[in-house]
């Protein structure tokens, strides 16, 4: 039973016993076990990544009324492995005039920025890499490294398309970090802690019901962070050929590609963790750690699926519209929402549970409605100004 409940501890104790048996000092043994744990987690993630490729391809096919990979293995399940083999054996090119160090460093950083996120993901009540008390900030910090990798890649490729792509992507990521961080503070308010584990534990009621608008904003900002359509500024195949990773081939490209997919899945997971209770599901998570992991992954897949749904449904938005959308709409709304939530939290501190939930929910809806109304009238104003009709035109004359 212990193993089902807390497999990590059982395994660690077992390994510690073995290593001690070899006469290893405790400190070294623990470091070794830690490395081992990291290795296993990363390895599992890479395997997952392979299947993500398959899932992505299958899903996009269904969206586009195609069947997708179906030749290799049942349902084409072997197809991703074939792809990997292709990537591995492909020629590794480096463009002329490239800044070699940075060129080679960029894909590694890209992959790394995703993988280090999993250090703070609470997979189960007992399985958590590091319980950082500033986990929320850590997520953003890891995103900063992703930005760095893209800039590196774009600049070092000595290609103007990739440079432009990198710039656009970096600008987008820098911008959308702000609403993202802002709405991530809302679960922080509810939990009273920045730690991801604590946030999960605190969700007796899913945060989604307390802050639906925050969840939506987080999802939008996450899609922008990921650089996926409709915010795929960095790649933008039709304009920049392939953006910052244009000059990459072989496994270096593979790392970018895998990084992006895993990144999307990871943010699906964070969405679930921050707003849908993470591994929690009516106490089922207490039964077994494996069940908890399954619950989390199920939720993460739903988030991932929504992200894919958006990607394959919406068209790309122009960069200036996108930044304007962020700075003039999303960020102010996030700020207002944060303040509203803080205020409501203070006001409803002593209220009963249902009143608390209701008040929070209604205040979110209210903020959403007001901001949509404001946005609507602002855009009508703008349209009339451009078209030269209505009050706006007369006013500006």
């Amino acid at each position: 039973m212990d193993f089902l409940k807390d497999p990590l501890k059982v395994a660690a104790d077992w390994l510690l016993g073995i290593f001690s048996g070899w006469g290893m000092p405790d400190l070294w043994a623990q470091v070794l076990i830690g490395f081992l744990g990291i290795f296993i987690l990363v390895a599992l993630l890479m395997v997952l990544d392979i299947f993500l490729v398959w899932i992505e391809r299958k899903v996009v096919s269904r969206f586009q009324s195609r069947i997708g990979p179906n030749r290799l293995g049942p349902f084409g399940l072997i197809q991703p492995f074939a792809d990997i083999i292709k990537l591995l054996i492909k020629e590794d090119t480096t463009p002329e005039g490239a800044d070699r160090t940075l060129y080679n460093l960029a894909p590694i950083l890209s992959m790394m920025s995703v993988l280090i996120l999993w250090a703070v993901v609470p997979l189960a009540p007992s399985i958590l890499g590091v319980d950082l008390n500033i986990g929320v900030l850590y997520i953003i910090a890891a995103g900063a490294i992703g930005t760095l990798s893209i800039i590196m890649a774009g600049w070092s490729s000595n290609n103007k398309y990739s440079l432009i792509g990198a710039f656009r992507e970096a600008a987008v990521m820098l911008s959308f970090e702000i609403p993202m961080l802002t709405v991530m503070l809302i679960p922080t308010i509810f939990a009273g802690s920045m730690g991801i584990g604590a946030i999960t534990q605190a969700q007796d009621t899913w945060n989604f019901f307390l802050a639906p608008l925050a969840a939506v904003i987080f999802l939008i900002a996450a899609i922008a962070e990921l650089g996926r359509s409709p915010f795929d500024m960095g790649e933008a195949e039709s304009e920049l050929v392939s953006g910052y990773n244009i000059e990459y081939s072989g496994m270096k490209f593979g790392m970018f590609y895998a990084g992006e997919l895993l990144h999307a899945f990871t943010f699906g997971g964070f969405w679930a963790i921050l707003f849908f209770g993470g591994y929690r599901f009516f106490g089922l998570e207490q039964v077994s750690a494996f069940l908890a992991i399954a619950i989390l992954f199920f939720k993460a897949f739903i988030g991932y699926w929504i992200i894919m749904w958006v990607k394959y449904t919406l068209l790309r938005i122009r960069i200036d519209h996108m930044l304007a959308f962020n700075w003039k709409f999303l960020t102010p709304v996030a700020f207002v929402l944060l303040m509203t939530t803080a205020l409501m939290n203070a006001l409803l501190a002593d209220a009963s549970n249902w009143l608390y939930i209701g008040g929070m929910f209604l205040s979110n809806i209210l903020v959403a409605w007001i901001s949509l109304e404001v946005a609507r009238s602002a855009s009508r104003w703008e349209r009339e100004r451009v078209e030269g009709t209505g009050y706006a035109a007369r006013r500006t004359e």
């Binding site: 008390n133 600049w155 710039f167």
Partner: protein, 169 residues
């Protein structure tokens, strides 16, 4: 020499080398990337000092934002991709001398200070540095006013930067 010390020395050396490259390398983009390396080093130093909040904020703010801005600025202020001509001015020797003098003066001061040999005390149990920091920043008894002033400064800088860099054509 303990493990701590070794780790510190390694990080400090890396940081200083990176910093040195920042001021000496001829390629400005490289200088910016070296700066990122140096900042990572400083973040690591923070981590060693158990200032985890500072460490993460160092990454978010400096690496995530400030260094990106530097790279942007470098890109925006050049006609071709590579740098031309010397990167140091005529007086660099004198500058180096002054910097060395400053370093010497600082070391001298540190050396003469009585508290230099202090050792770190252990963290009290159940002391939450991040929580304490958060409370200190928004508590009216502590630093809410500087905090607010800083935020006003940031807003002013934001608007000012937009205004200054805005292309009026």
């Amino acid at each position: 020499m303990t493990v701590d010390q070794i780790i510190f020395l390694v990080i400090a050396a890396g940081t200083l080398i990176a910093a040195f490259r920042v001021v000496t390398t001829g390629n400005l983009i490289h200088a910016a990337f070296w700066l990122i390396a140096a900042l990572f080093g400083v973040a690591a130093i923070f981590a060693i000092l158990h200032a985890s909040f500072l460490a993460v904020v160092q990454v978010v703010v400096y690496i995530g934002a400030i260094s990106m801005l530097f790279i942007f600025a470098v890109m925006l202020t050049r006609k071709d991709m590579r740098d031309q001509g010397p990167q140091l001015n005529r007086n660099w020797g004198f500058g180096a001398f002054l910097a060395a003098l400053a370093f010497a003066g600082l070391v001298f001061l540190v050396h003469g200070w009585s508290g230099v040999a202090k050792t770190a005390s252990a963290f009290p149990s159940d002391f939450d540095a991040v929580g304490a920091l958060g409370n200190a920043l928004v508590s009216p008894d502590a630093y809410v006013l500087p905090f607010e002033v800083a935020s006003v400064l940031l807003v002013a800088a934001l608007i000012g930067a937009v205004y200054v860099a805005y292309n009026r054509k």
